[in-house]
């Protein structure tokens, strides 16, 4: 596999993987929590929260990237504070790319997980209550495992979408080789080069392969769960 691609392309592949993986890893817990909150019956501000969660979908990725740039840039107050207090710098670093990808793909995760949580039979939750399980206990021992199909679906969708994310990343963290240049950015650069179509095509194939391996993994995980419950 490494034979027919250049080291620069391998680098982009690895960055893409790192960015997408981190994006999903970091945003998943938050997505689960958000989905759980949104699955509750009406509460004050639910519509607003729901809208907020969808925001990254509604806005063009470039706009999301721009908003991140002006709020987390080293010259922006929030960005400065993060840098000075914790030494965290998102801008122009792969962690920023992961952040952008995580935010942009957040809505998919929440949606999928929320669907699964809402499909859980409330009778089971009640049964857990009578057996002495408190709210947090129920969340970890009943709700999370039963929402697993949604969590896996959300994670894989977010992973795939992160692999394809372009606008928010290039706008927020720019296109820095070896740091933020993911596969889509590499594809973009290749297209901008006269005669770069071949390289672009190869990178597209790489993207697809990477995503497929993610899909296959999630499929195996899903099967495993289902098989267990069918025993």
């Amino acid at each position: 596999m490494i034979d027919w691609i250049t080291p620069i392309e391998t680098e982009a592949l690895l960055i893409s993987f790192k960015v997408s993986f981190t994006a999903v890893l970091i945003s998943l817990p938050l997505a689960i929590a958000t989905a759980f909150v949104l699955s509750k019956p009406d509460f004050f501000g639910k519509a607003l929260l729901d809208g907020l969660v969808h925001l990254p979908l509604i806005l063009p990725p470039v706009v999301m990237g721009y908003l991140l740039l002006i709020s987390l840039g080293t010259r922006a107050p929030l960005g400065q504070w993060l840098q000075e207090s914790f030494g965290i710098r998102f801008i122009f670093s792969w962690t920023g790319a992961a952040l952008a990808a995580g935010i942009v793909t957040f809505p998919f995760q929440v949606r999928a997980i929320r669907l699964s949580i809402e499909a859980i039979d409330p009778g089971l939750i009640n049964a857990a209550k009578t057996l002495g399980a408190g709210p947090f206990d129920r969340f970890t021992s009943i709700i999370m495992p039963l929402a697993l199909p949604g969590i896996i679906a959300g994670a894989i969708t977010a992973f795939a979408a992160s692999l394809g994310e372009f606008g928010a990343i290039i706008t927020f963290v720019s296109n820095i080789p070896g740091e933020t240049r993911t596969l889509p950015l590499a594809i973009y650069s290749a297209i901008q080069t006269p005669g770069g179509e071949n390289a672009a095509g190869r990178l597209v194939v790489l993207s697809i392969l990477l995503a497929f391996s993610g899909l296959v993994l999630s499929d195996i995980a899903n099967r495993h769960i289902k098989k267990r419950m069918n025993q």
Partner: protein, 240 residues
């Protein structure tokens, strides 16, 4: 410590080759960051650690100069480009001596469009609009324009034969075998100016070396090879 050059995406090919040469000769590592001039400008504004900014559009350079993020004394306007009117090869059109509404309308037919960069924000589109305006062609044609996201997207539309006409950079057109150049605009009509400068934050000598290399005779020869025009009386200009 490599030096970082923020360069307009439309310069990707040539800048890659030029810096390769520079790296080989000097051993100085260069990190190339390509995006649209506007994106790069906003990123420099947000604190990107760029040493050099190579814009395809003087407006974004001015924007940064005003924001005091550029060392104005290092600003050089070396390169120019020209716009060409192209059409797909399969139409086998003859080159035109001059262009007027009639000829263009004939080529466009009932439903054909003229593709170019978005005249609202894409540099190549802004230049193209300016050129068409001066020839009194903008008014009759402006409803028949397919506004592309960037210069290459406009070129693609023509090379795929989706639009019978397009206005693109000469530098892009000459690398695309599926298009014919019908007409070349005069450099004066468009005044396309690329601008290269060191950023305010850089303190690197290496950056200066790269700037010098890119504006040296050898550097300029490379740009010429890619179809750019070298401004004869290029100068280190002051911001206006």
């Amino acid at each position: 410590e490599p030096i970082t050059l923020f360069a307009a995406a439309s310069l990707t090919g040539v800048v890659n080759e030029a810096t390769n040469l520079f790296e080989k000769e000097t051993g100085i590592k260069v990190r190339l960051v390509f995006a649209s001039s506007s994106t790069l400008a906003r990123q420099i504004e947000a604190g990107a650690s760029a040493d050099l900014y190579f814009s395809a559009n003087i407006k974004w350079m001015d924007y940064l100069v005003k924001a005091a993020l550029i060392k104005p004394e290092t600003l050089i306007k070396t390169l120019s480009n020209t716009l060409v009117l192209i059409s797909p090869k399969y139409l086998s059109l003859d080159s035109l001596a001059t262009i007027d509404t009639q000829t263009l309308n004939d080529i466009l037919g009932d439903s054909g469009l003229l593709s170019m960069g978005d005249p609202d924000h894409v540099p190549v589109g802004i230049y193209g609009k300016k050129a068409l305006k001066q020839r009194g062609l903008w008014e009759p044609l402006h409803r028949r324009i397919a506004r592309a996201d960037n210069a290459l997207a406009a070129l693609t539309l023509v090379s795929r034969g989706e639009t019978p006409l397009g206005i693109v950079y000469q530098t892009d057109a000459i690398h695309q075998p599926n298009v014919d150049i019908l007409f070349g605009f005069e450099p004066e009509e468009t005044q396309i100016e690329y601008a290269l400068a060191l950023t305010q934050q850089t303190s690197s000598d290496d950056a200066k070396k790269l700037l010098n290399f890119l504006s040296s005779a050898r550097g300029l020869a490379l740009f010429e090879k890619y179809g750019f025009t070298i401004l004869k009386d290029y100068q280190r200009s002051q911001p206006n």
